[in-house]
């Protein structure tokens, strides 16, 4: 069957856009190899000193570990809450479902800066009552990240539930399965791909969260993006370029692996 393909003008325009999209990602590579202490293009000599700084400077290691801890905690929390909520919606189809789902999606729709000031209010209010749960604590940041990631987790799980055949659940119900058995042995095994994706996306969103984190941390809970922010605002530290190169390489590898898996599945 003939198809309608883009012509030469479209291809040229698309290539320009593609170049624009990739250019800043490529630009960090030479900067990360500069031998100077300031942000500059290397002239002649190349150096790996900024990569070494990432390993040797305890600030980078500490904030990477902190970001992982916050990401794992908030992702587990938001995935479990989102899973329970979505199962409730799918299995019982209660009244007001649209309004309840709309409420859950609010943190995704409201401008992030408004969510940030809201969570700042929350954590400074808690700080008075509890010292390890409020403003500038890792648990407080994890909770705030869970608020921001739970709408995304909910959307992903609801989408995978919507592709599930309701008759499987009806059969289980007719054969006398309890609500718990239906949820854990019938429904969840069928949407496990969606659940894993929701957990991964929540982790990634928490790992790179900066808009809200800026409002709710000051000196103790310095996550990796927060540390990068500090290095970007004051004197630009070329170690950020080295870190960026590493993060870009990881992203490209993960995306390549994902598309390889997708292609393998299609081939089978």
């Amino acid at each position: 069957m003939p198809t309608y393909r883009p012509g030469p003008v479209s291809l040229i325009l698309a290539a320009l856009v593609a170049l624009f999209l990739l250019l800043p990602l490529l630009a960090v590579i030479p900067v990360s190899l500069t031998p100077t202490r300031m942000l500059a293009m290397p002239s002649g000599e190349l150096s790996l000193r900024h990569y070494r700084a990432l390993i040797e400077d305890p600030r980078w290691i500490n904030s990477i570990l902190l970001s992982i801890r916050i990401g794992v905690f908030s992702s587990a929390f938001s995935t479990v809450l989102a899973l329970c909520f979505s199962l409730g919606v799918w299995m019982f189809q209660p009244r007001f479902t649209a309004a309840l789902v709309g409420f859950v999606l609010l943190p995704m729709v409201v401008p992030p800066v408004v969510s940030a000031i809201t969570l700042y209010f929350l954590l400074t209010s808690i700080s008075g009552a509890s010292s390890f749960f409020g403003y500038d604590t890792w648990l407080g940041v994890a909770m705030a990240h869970a608020v921001m990631t739970v709408p995304f987790a909910t959307v992903l799980i609801l989408v995978s539930l919507s592709q599930l055949d309701r008759r499987i659940d009806l059969a289980a119900r007719g054969l006398g399965a309890t609500v718990w058995e239906r949820a854990t042995r019938i429904i969840m095994p069928n949407i496990k791909f969606g659940i894993v994706t929701a957990a991964l996306l929540s982790f990634v969103l928490s790992w790179e969260e900066i808009g809200v984190t800026l409002f709710i941390t000051s000196v103790n809970a310095i996550t990796l993006p927060r540390l990068m922010w500090m290095g970007l605002r004051d004197n630009i530290d070329p170690a950020i370029a080295a870190l960026s190169v590493i993060l870009i390489i990881i992203t490209v590898l993960v995306l390549a692996a994902r598309s390889a898996v997708v292609r393998l599945r299609r081939a089978q």
Partner: protein
């Protein structure tokens, strides 16, 4: 009757944890922020009066709307160009387009803003190269101004603009385009008179997403604007942390939410949300 009751109990038990969590950690503090806007530093509508009269606040609002409008037009146009190839190209072209869209999409906003600093700053790639070939003698000022902010925001938002466009282009029937060509319409004419009008809902959807995102944008303007072209979100940050005036920061937030809500309600009156995704 018994089954009905247990169903309601089950639904309540499953849905309650998330609803309670968001109620306590999101809805309640939001009303706290609204309360700030009416009570700090003194009870009354004083902060909203300031919003209407303070020239600094107004200039920030005007700048935000102007930047958001420019970024929306440029991002949607650029996204359109690459989406055409992503959806309708040959298999090889599709793979390349997908790579160029998804890699930036998954990379953090900080890394991407930093990439532009590395490219556009005084000692960055662009200025170094232009000076080396003798095109300019003094470095051009490309960041720490509005130009840098627009470039960085456009770069961030193109992938978000792509997705609604892609779904409207995918649902378009090939035969309509082939019929137009068969009836003697040129490539250009087919594109502008058939293809573009049929993807209208995607264009509206992606423009809405980009515009709403740009209004509340914080990180990219703060880094690439260098404090010189402050947008609304950065103004809120400054009012909370640098020249503390929590009431004003809260009032600006409330106005921002109302504006975004009204905008979305307006668009959803004409386009169903389902058509946008």
């Amino acid at each position: 009757m018994k089954a009905y009751l247990s169903d309601r109990m089950g639904a309540a038990l499953l849905m309650a944890p998330l609803l309670l969590f968001l109620g306590a950690a999101y809805a309640w503090p939001f009303f706290g922020v609204v309360n700030w806007s009416f009570t700090l530093p003194e009870p009354g509508l004083g902060q909203y009066g300031t919003l209407l009269s303070d020239p600094l606040v107004q200039s920030v609002f005007v700048r935000t709307l102007r930047i958001a409008a420019i970024v929306t037009i440029v991002s949607v146009a650029a996204a359109y160009a690459i989406t055409v190839v992503w959806v309708r190209g040959t298999p090889a072209q599709r793979v390349i387009a997908e790579f160029c869209i998804l890699v930036p999409f998954w990379i953090s906003v900080l890394t991407r803003a930093f990439g532009w600093v590395a490219l556009l700053s005084n000692r960055g790639l662009f200025n170094t190269w232009l000076q080396a070939i003798g095109f300019i003698s003094e470095p051009l000022t490309l960041v720490r101004n509005e130009f840098g902010v627009i470039v960085g925001m456009t770069h961030f938002l193109i992938p978000f603009a792509v997705f609604p466009l892609a779904s409207s282009m995918r649902s378009l029937d090939d035969r309509v385009l082939l019929a137009a060509r068969g009836l003697g319409s040129s490539r250009m004419r087919t594109f502008w008179s058939v293809f573009v009008p049929m993807t209208r809902s995607g264009i509206i959807g992606s423009a809405l997403i980009v515009f709403v995102f740009s209004l509340g944008f914080f990180v990219t303007p703060a880094i690439l604007g260098g404090g010189r072209s402050v947008m609304v979100a950065e103004l809120i940050y400054l009012r909370i942390f640098q020249s503390p005036d929590w009431g004003l920061g809260a009032a600006i937030s409330v106005v921002l939410v109302l504006f975004v809500g009204a905008l979305m309600a307006l668009v959803f009156r004409y386009v169903r949300p389902r058509q946008l995704i």
